[in-house]
């Protein structure tokens, strides 16, 4: 690294403001300076998420055992060097199953957040931009969704569609649409009155162009925060549904499902529940911490108050 580059970085460090405008030129090298130095919760959260992602990618290949391999001679073994998380009622290695489960969990989390975010963003965007009848129809629909617990909506959907991983993703995703729609709607209402949209209108930009080219880039930062926190919620909901038998079906190693199948042995073999439970907790916690840090970063006012 030459001296000029270092100077640039030092200069950048000096210029960084926790400010909406500054985040518009979010560069890669800023990620380290902004995140690690200025915001410990984001540093911790991002390291944890990074490790989880690594595990989700390479986990299955470094797992010591096959996640579905039965071994009746090693049932209910307590944690040891051979099976560091112990084994379950069919002699399967819990550590390997939890590792495999990381990937399943990420898949469910990402896909359901994707569904919720995509539809929620569109509903909130159209409702916030249009004003008038469409706004009322869309937001009253969201209000109705808000009058049921998310888990109940997801359960009803899975019960209707039939339990499977794919349907679980759809159900959890649909149940979270309202959440993203509300946030998008709120942000759009604020952005809607800014003169840059008038400026776009005057040079001939139609409604779609104003929404997708002008509004969306301005509402993405708060939505990233919401999506991060929403990911934690989705993981939890998915685990909950799987625990109830309405989600991922055995023998797929999903954390909620491992937890559920171990619940009969809670006294005899508590490690069956402790380790998948811990995994869920770590995943949810790290996304929550990361999301909180991200919010501080993108919302300077709130941060300075603390």
């Amino acid at each position: 690294m030459n001296k000029r580059k270092i100077d640039n970085i030092i200069e950048d460090l000096g210029q960084i403001e926790f400010d909406e405008r500054a985040s518009a030129k979010f560069k890669f090298k800023d990620i380290f300076s902004k995140v690690i130095f200025k915001n410990p919760s984001m540093a911790i959260g991002s390291i944890m998420i990074f490790l989880l992602i690594i595990l989700a990618i390479i986990g299955p290949s470094i797992a010591p055992y096959d996640s579905q391999e039965l071994n009746m001679s090693e049932r209910f073994e307590s944690p040891s060097w051979n099976h560091i998380f112990g084994t379950d009622n069919m002699g399967r290695d819990i550590f390997s199953r939890v590792l495999h489960g990381t990937r399943v969990t990420f898949k469910i989390g990402l896909a359901s957040v994707g569904i919720g975010l995509a539809f929620g963003l569109l509903i909130g965007l159209f409702a916030g931009y249009s004003r008038g009848k469409l706004q009322n129809v869309l937001m009253r629909f969201i209000d109705i969704l808000y009058s049921f617990p998310a888990l109940l909506i997801a359960m009803a959907l899975v019960a209707f569609l039939g339990p499977s991983t794919r349907n679980l993703i759809i159900a959890v995703g649909i149940a979270s649409i309202r959440y993203y729609a509300r946030v998008t709607y709120g942000v759009v209402l604020v952005e809607r009155n800014k003169p840059y949209l008038d400026a776009a209108e005057i040079v001939g930009a139609g409604a779609l162009r104003q929404m997708f080219r002008h509004l969306i880039p301005n509402i993405v930062p708060p939505l990233i925060v919401v999506a991060t926190l929403g990911f934690a919620g989705a993981v939890l909901n998915a685990a909950g549904l799987s625990f109830l038998g309405l989600g991922v079906q055995p023998p797929t190693p999903e954390w909620g499902l491992i937890l559920s199948s171990g619940r009969n042995y809670i006294i005899r073999a508590p490690w069956l529940l402790i380790f998948p439970g811990l995994a869920i907790m770590v995943a949810v916690l790290s996304f929550n911490i990361f999301g909180d840090g991200l919010r501080d970063l993108l919302d300077p006012k709130q941060q300075r108050k603390v």
């Binding site: 405008r21 518009a24 030129k25 800014k194 003169p195 005057i202 040079v203 001939g204 162009r209 301005n218």
Partner: protein, 338 residues
């Protein structure tokens, strides 16, 4: 391109506004009917000639910004007509309006919020070309560079985000964007009031240069009569949704006739404490609410010369001398006496 026919039809005027009204609904009853209306613009008529700058002054709340927004059709007028190059644009729907958009452009007051913070300067300026499909990528890039040059920005700045610019530079970006579609009329809504005094002059001079270069007409909206006088050929004084006085700049400055114009002139600060004016010469109190404007003459509640007729009858804007129109009963009396 203005054909000769339209030129003769419109007497060399670029826009003719007559009887323009805008009432904003205030509050709604359960049945969705508005409870009240704010009379933001109430029966305003004026014309702007080709290549002319018309200054529009008034206090905040006088409706001057609403007039600007009506002319670019960000708002739909309640009544009245706006003939732009002979064609009435007051009732056009959004889609029908598209071909006319380029002809009337606007420079905004706040150079910070009027530029999308997530777009690069070059993208902002090239957007009108993309919307109107004017050329391929290379041609558009050339046009954008030309515009940057015309408003005094450097080509290297094309790839910068708007927050990397100063207020004056941002206003230049806004001006470049407004120029993109070859406008004939530019609405400048307080284009310098958000800028430092040193930068104000630069931007005003730039607008004057561009006016000569592109043969532009301006509607220059400001609350500061000294700024308006600096750039305008004619000045229209507005109060609570109505025009009070319209005259050529020199005439208006030297012989303000309407009591409101007089008090506005008195409000201009003089940089000499010895010449400090009597307090009573500047308008007292606040502008009344446009929801329930005073009967008769709207200025009567603050006018030092008000008499009983002012409360009963709305004074009409009439020429009392050539090219000097005033809406005030004082001058009707004079004319009757004469």
């Amino acid at each position: 391109m203005v054909g000769k026919d339209t030129m003769t039809k419109t007497n060399g005027s670029i826009i003719q506004v007559s009887g323009l009204k805008k009432y904003f609904p205030i509050g709604r009853t359960l049945l969705g009917k508005p409870k009240n209306f704010a009379h933001a613009v109430d029966d305003v008529s004026f014309t702007i000639k080709q290549g002319e700058t018309l200054g529009l002054v008034g206090e905040s709340g006088s409706g001057k910004t609403t007039i600007g927004r009506l002319l670019v059709r960000l708002e739909k007028p309640t009544a009245g007509s706006m003939l732009f190059e002979g064609k009435d644009i007051s009732l056009l729907k959004k889609r029908e309006l598209k071909p006319f958009r380029g002809g009337i452009q606007m420079v905004f007051q706040d150079p910070y919020s009027s530029l999308n913070p997530r777009m690069k300067a070059g993208d902002l300026v090239s957007e009108p070309f993309i919307i109107y499909r004017k050329g391929n990528r290379v041609e558009i890039k050339e046009k954008v560079e030309k515009l940057f040059d015309a408003v005094g920005l450097r080509k290297e700045q094309i790839d910068r985000y708007s927050h990397e610019f100063s207020g004056g530079q941002r206003q230049r970006i806004g001006i470049a964007r407004a120029l993109a579609l070859n406008p004939r009329l530019i609405i400048a809504d307080e284009p310098v009031s958000a800028l430092d005094v040193s930068v104000q002059a630069q931007v005003l001079n730039l607008l004057a240069e561009l006016q000569d270069e592109f043969d532009l007409s301006f509607l220059f909206i400001a609350h500061d009569i000294s700024v308006v006088a600096h750039v305008s050929h004619r000045i229209a004084v507005m109060y609570l949704g109505k025009l009070m006085e319209v005259a050529e700049t020199k005439e208006l400055i030297r012989h303000p006739r309407h009591p409101y114009t007089e008090s506005l002139m008195n409000a201009v600060p003089i940089p000499n404490p010895k010449l400090r004016r009597d307090k009573h010469d500047v308008p007292q109190g606040d502008i009344p609410s446009p929801i329930n404007p005073p009967s008769g003459c709207r200025f009567r509640t603050r006018c030092p010369h008000a008499f009983d007729r002012c409360a009963k009858e709305i004074p009409l804007l009439r020429e009392i001398e050539s090219k000097h129109a005033v809406a005030c009963h004082l001058f009707d009396k004079e004319m009757e006496d004469a």
